[in-house]
Amino acid sequence: MAKEPTPKEMQRIDYNPPAPGWMDTPVNIKPGMYCYPAKPEKIMDVDMPNPHKWSVTDEDWHLPADWKETFLEGMRDRLNKHRSFKIFMDICVRCGACADKCHFFLGSGDPKNMPVVRAELLRSVYRGEFTKAGQILGRLAGGRKLTPEVIKELWYYFFQCTECRRCSLFCPYGIDTAEVTIIGRELLNLLGLNINWIQEPVSNCYRIGNHLGLQPHTYKGNIEFLLDDIETYVGIRINPTFNRKGAEILFATPSGDVFAEPGIYTLMGYLMLFEHIGLDYTWSTYASETGNFGFFTSLEMAKRLNYKIYAEAKRLGVKWILGGECGHMWRVIHQYMDTFNGPADFLEEPVSPITGTKFENAKSTKMVHITEFTADLIKHGKLKLDKSRNDHLKVTFHDSCNPARAMGLLEEPRYVIKNVCNHFYEMPENTIREQTFCCGSGSGLNASENMELRLRGGFPRANAVRYVHEKHGVNVLANVCAIDRAALPALMDYWVPGVAVAGISELVANALIMEGEGPRTQNLRGEDIPGREEAGDV
């Protein structure tokens, strides 16, 4: 029998792990933390380079023979092309202001999730391969050579960044780590190293029109099914148009709203809102996706996918475009679209046909966010609302990273919610607005196989939701992003059971008093509205 250690012996146990530097810490690729590789045929669909079969857990990733030259040449090309990338590689002083701002670091405790270290993974290659100091002094100058192991590390960690840009908010130099990730992923794509959760939607969107690959009849068919549901729960029949030339407005939204729960309820909300105000608009089965997963492969691919929305607007001859509740779509529209495909001079500067409001912020892109549009309608008293129908809901609002940080959509969602719900509670100040915590699943990382990664990344957000859930009884997490709607339910299920996820347009529609409506005893999910089950609400 083993000798029982004495209390003195037990004291000598040292729980401190050894502390090697990050360059000496080998990458430990763990299931649950990554998405499956892109299928070669999906890469071929869009003529992207080096499609090949490989497996994350294999020693050999079957990189192309000239992998090193391809990567470094691609890097040189981008250093010359994007001044921002060159500056971001050069100017970081490792002050650490960004280090503890990343939701993945806060949820994992892995130092390579600190934005400064994540960028350093590539920056070290830049120093080692492109700067004289790094070439001569190597590690002394913070440089290292590109090896297959480094490629694996870059891949693992650039797909552990949701490009949410919270870290960039705190950088005194204005370094946008998301842009480092964007370029890092572009370089990996040159070697055919993408994930399928991004690549297949890109292929679908390019060939068919939307991420889910819904063909025109399916897209239309499912909206018609949601119209049936509206008829059941609201008691009115709505008949929207599809691909109608000459409509004043083209409405475009992420395809997740057409098929995925709870996005479908948000889509029912759009349909009811437009019916309520008698908007002259049309859906398009071709511009049937406003999300842009191309943005997560390469800027060139993002441009190709973005173009079809404008091409369709031109074909239909609409005056301007109204966009649905989406996240990264708005970053692409607001910050890239004009450079990609602008100017959209065949469209008019958006003016609300109902209120006459000119959306000067959309002067260039000609695309207005549904929440701005709805807020303007409410401000002008154009909506008949019974907000008491949402009285059983205690709502908080999750600022989606891109609408908040990339386009400044901060007040409008709150204004809309407060006008359609009586119970609204903010999460703590340092977790909302510009400082909002990401859902942990953005930038194409909302697959299921990487659930541990998503749950880690979503922990800071969930922690704040839990606080208002316990303090105020919050039971609805509202947002304006299709990826949020797809990803947050899983997050709530693990971290804060009892909190549902809803798009703002769903809350609006539940409060809308529609002409000719029925008793409205059920909400758009077909659930009984508490207190109205029997008496009816007439």
Binding site: P7, K8, M10, Q11, I13, Y15, N16, P17, A19, T25, N28, K30, G32, A99, D100, F105, L106, G107, S108, G109, D110, P111, M114, L212, G213, L214, T218, G221, N222, F225, D228, F259, A260, E261, I264, P428, N430, T431, S448, E449, M451, E452, L455, R456, F459, P460, N463, A464, Y467, P489, A490, D493, Y494, W495
Partner: protein, 187 residues
């Protein structure tokens, strides 16, 4: 002095040491952050641990308390560690650390009024029970991760095969749940 009193007297020191031993299971760069930032929202991991440990120590230190009374606080800690890079044993190891820590504090204290060894043995037994509880909760968390994955897959009919429509539509078309499961099988 009995152990309960000793723990009450040295509560803050024990809690600090316990917190530090948990923080030390993370890489060195992370330890600094976990220990220094006291904000509940910008250091969710550190604050979760800090808030849960006192409740657990109260239960451990009160010999009459049922260990199960610590479930909620144990869950708060384990839920975080169950999805991180730890092996199952490492995920629940922090609950074991308290054994050595309390012994260390007892040994270091002046021997004027020593804690009876029997009480330390009883304390060890309570820590063992706490570990069993933590392991049960760990498994519960892992099961939840898998259930969440499964639920999500089932909500994503578009993933399963081209042309498959959303489940409520198929139900409406007269397709049974069994039929749906057949067409929804993995590719």
């Amino acid at each position: 002095m009995n152990l309960s009193e000793f723990i009450k007297l040295n509560r803050d020191r024990i809690l600090d040491a316990w917190f530090l031993s948990i923080a030390n299971t993370y890489p060195a760069e992370t330890v600094k952050f976990l220990t220094e930032n006291r904000d509940k929202f910008t250091n969710p991991m550190g604050s979760t641990f800090r808030e849960a440990l006192p409740a657990i120590l109260n239960v451990l230190g009160g010999p009459e308390e049922e260990i199960a009374a610590a479930s909620s606080a144990v869950r708060d800690i384990v839920r975080v560690r169950a999805i991180q890079n730890f092996s199952p044993s490492s995920a629940v190891a922090p609950f074991y650390y308290i054994k050595g820590l309390v012994r260390k504090f007892v040994c270091d204290a002046t021997a004027k009024d020593p804690v009876p060894p029997k009480e330390l043995d009883a304390f060890d037994a309570r820590v063992n029970s706490l570990l069993f509880l933590a392991f049960d909760i760990y498994m519960e968390c892992r099961e939840t991760v898998w259930r969440v994955k499964y639920d999500e897959l089932m909500k994503r009919p578009f993933m399963v095969r081209e042309g498959v429509m959303c489940p409520s539509y198929l139900l409406k078309k007269g397709m049974s749940v069994d039929d749906m499961e057949k067409i929804g099988g993995a590719e």
